[in-house]
Assembly symmetry: C2
Homo-oligomer: 298 residues x 2
């Protein structure tokens, strides 16, 4: 079975792993990413970590998941708020020269989606749409085992989909963007507005909903509807075989997946109602998907 | 240069053509489609037309554009309101047996999009999103010369995208669907509401707007914004290299393409603003694209 090196590079931590073609993680190292020390320090750190992996030379390639949009043709990030200096910085070629193997870069949500499509719950399906339902909301479109990154690496920036144009604008996203209405931060904000200062996080709202609080249940119900509206857009554009939904909020799947599916089906054509909507199953989709970039793109 | 047979099958008329690989139409026949006489009559008619094409045997395959969603794996329509009896009716195999060449079926909007991507204004671009802006609104996603049809053939059913959930529901589409707010029928309806019974069609509104009527100009401006909202959804899902917009309303392109582009750019991330938004250029995208299905899918 082929083996790949995967790097999950975040603003705080970086992970490096050796991963089998079937998604199994053989070896795994985690360190601070040293983003504050500058890009050269970040890359030196990664090189050291890669070299410390046992038998790293037997791997077929290196895949890197990064926190921002990527131009996959030029193998560079096009925007980088969490990793200063990384926009248009080509460190893939540096790694490729040192390790004598191909290096592939992609957005972390795209990497996670690829993992779920290749070795997770999306396995065997032709068109997989992956959604991270977490603090924010992101997505990835995987067609026949390949991620569609888009012209500028912005395919999957679904947090910015407007689900109701009459809502308030909160940040750089559109007014009424699904992320600012149905993401984790949004649930915390709405919870505080409606339930008061006892709410500090999305989890507080979810816990109250589980206890049967009607106001908290209403917040979760609205969240499910708003997310379903955004999913109906994705459905009409790509008509996927399966939606795979991962991220922290999906720990409360029994609270909202049923409603989400019902609302989705109410918003699409009859012939589209048989789509699968499933919870992600991989424990480590980010690092797994980064490693599988080589399998997907080589 | 390779040659293909193309069939543009509508509820009223059917066209059959011999088309060169570069999109040039060599020979072209049009007849009533005989939909009211039943599916066997429709197919017999098509067989006759194909056989009357000079040197039809030298063609590499037959492509058929049909007015409804298609399961491209099974080569059948999955829904057919304009061609009674054609849902799940496999006439592609019948034609393939008779003409001893491959036969490919796809939705007519997908065929038109494929034509613009391969030999029209989208030529040379990797991700082309084609929109028909006509009586209704439809779309097609073409990635590296191949149409994404989706699980059930519903990819591109963008007329159903909700651009404002607070509007009225008019037909089988969602309340606030872009087709019922920015399509040709919608412009006629809104025109009549605002400008009175002198408005009979979208063209009447457009003519008034050209003459400088401020109410008509406002209707066109709202239409451009609503269409831009739907395009922003497509942009965040697939981040195309180019939007190609065809259909009857684009005859008024100088009236609204500038606004459309400005509104689109105001609704997407900074890194996505360099997308191209162009008017379709092919005179006969439907029949050309049907013929090119063989080139794309063989």
């Amino acid at each position: 079975m082929e083996k790949y090196l995967g790097i999950d590079l975040g603003g705080t931590n970086v992970r490096v792993a050796k991963v089998l073609e079937n998604g199994e993680i053989i070896e795994d190292i985690k360190r601070p990413s040293l983003a504050e020390k500058g890009k050269e320090a970040v890359v030196s750190n990664i090189i050291e970590m890669l070299k410390s992996i046992k038998d790293y030379k037997e791997c077929q390639g290196i895949g890197i998941g990064v926190p921002g949009p990527v131009d996959t043709k030029r193998n560079v990030m096009t925007m980088s708020s969490n990793l200063p200096g990384f926009a248009f910085y080509n460190f893939a070629d540096t790694l490729s020269d040192i390790f004598k193997m191909p290096v592939y870069l992609d957005n972390d949500a795209n990497a996670a989606g690829l993992a779920e499509a290749l070795v997770g719950v999306g396995k065997g399906h032709s068109i997989v749409y992956y959604i991270t339902h977490s603090t924010g909301i992101g997505g990835a479109l995987v067609i026949d085992g390949k991620v569609l990154s888009g012209k500028n690496g912005y395919a999957g920036e679904i947090g910015n989909l407007i689900i109701d144009r009459d809502r308030q604008k909160y940040n750089h996203l559109n007014a009424g963007a699904v992320e600012t209405e149905a993401g984790g931060l949004a649930i915390a904000r709405i919870g505080k507005e409606i339930l008061g200062d006892k709410i500090q996080s999305a989890k507080d709202v979810i816990d109250l909903a589980y206890s049967g609080d009607s106001k908290a249940l209403k917040i979760i119900d609205d969240m499910a509807y708003d997310l379903a509206v955004a999913m109906s857009y994705i459905g009409h554009v790509v008509d996927p075989d399966i939606f795979v939904i991962g991220g922290g909020i999906t720990n409360a799947d029994d609270l909202y997946f049923g409603k989400l599916a019902d609302y989705y089906r109410s918003l699409v054509h009859d012939g589209m109602k048989d789509v699968l909507i499933k919870k992600a199953i991989l424990k480590e989709p980010g690092i797994t998907g980064a490693a599988l970039l080589t399998k997907s793109r080589r």
